[in-house]
Amino acid sequence: MKITSVFDLYIQRTEFFTKLLIEHIYLTSVSVLIITIVGLTTGILMSSNKKMASIVLTLTGFLYTIPSIALFGFLVALTGIGNTSAIIALSLYGVLPVIRNTYVGITEVDAEIIESATAMGSTPLQLLLNIQLPLASPVIIAGFRTMVIMTIALGGIASFIGAGGLGVAIWRGITTNFPEMTVAGSLLVAMFAIIADVVLGFVEKGFSSKILGKE
């Protein structure tokens, strides 16, 4: 297999790869959106409820001991083949870093800062919005970044359960013994992940320099 034949493939089948990339972006974005909403909410609720915190952390920890393929298989039985199952699986996997980092970020804000803000008469919501979330934001964004990369990569195997995305090319390459196709799909997944990582890296830096003052 020559690497040039991979590029030939991109040129010959531009439309096919573009469609897969768009599907991949769609699958990932929907999952990221769900994860962000669920993860932030759960993390925030946990930070004021110790019991819930230990339950959620145990549950999500347990989730990670299930191999992704087994989870996919289980979901197919429940929600069938297609994008829905893939999005559920991606969301389940990606939610831990967001939950954990939101929780840790909020609970690690200095006690004196919380004490001052509370004693000055902040309502719990004002405390959350003005103090806790801004101060936790560098940690939360670090978790978000990890999650996005994970979701993009994991999205590559979502087509094993009939979802779209670049996994289709990888899967087809494997089943038809067409390595260029597999490499072409994988390469695009990797590129997508790297670009997302670099962009989010800048965002993360921006936030921590605003909050922590590092230039």
Binding site: E115, T118, G121, Q126, I211
Partner: protein
Amino acid sequence: MTIIEFDKVSKSYEEGKDVIKDISFKIDEGEFVTLVGPSGCGKTTLLKMINKMIAPTAGKILIRGNEISSWDTTDLRRSIGYVIQQVGLFPHMTIAENIGYVLKITGAQKAERRSKALELISLVGLDKSYIDKYPRQLSGGQKQRIGVARALAGDPDIILMDEPFGAVDEIARKKLQDEFKQIHQKLGKTIVFVTHDIYEALKLGTRIVLMNNGVIEQSGTDTDLVFKPASPFVKDFFGIKGYKALLDEDTLQKDYEKAIEIAERTQ
């Protein structure tokens, strides 16, 4: 006029172990009360019951004549300034935003918050150019000043302070004490001030309250506590240090000069 009243107040963190034991006492409007006593005697606990940061296990606390349970917690806290040793400035906000925080949560506009911050930063003796800096760019003493300014922003009639000048060096502390004493005289707020430092307690307080083991050993003026100690504990606590704190510095300075003169003459 009584502004803060403790009526048979007790507090225990663990069953059967009271850290505040049946304390009753009143603070009048405009008083500067300093709370002193050995570590662990309950000063912080007593202070934090005033702004509902800690709930008493028994007894009543009245603020401006109303029992604490009838106060809305946020309203009560917004009407009481609070300064702690670690200051607890918000690191992601500028000095102006820090000072204006109480005004922000009560819905004041940005322009009003800024002009209040400018007014207060001068009052606490800092240059106006600090207003757009971040807490990390300030020294310990400067942070303490901002902590005081922030506590004054909502124009509270009561200010609670827990060892506010504890973390700065001797010289900066003396300066802060002098300036804060002037601020108190100028603004006439009621201040409850916890300290470890006997000298600070005697110098600042219009009334000094000495606590020990969850009870008030004695409450009175500086001369009451130093010259008329109510118990051996009070006498031991202030001792010669308390006596020295009451001596007039100018007289001492003259005595010192005289001593040097005599020493030089006998050489």
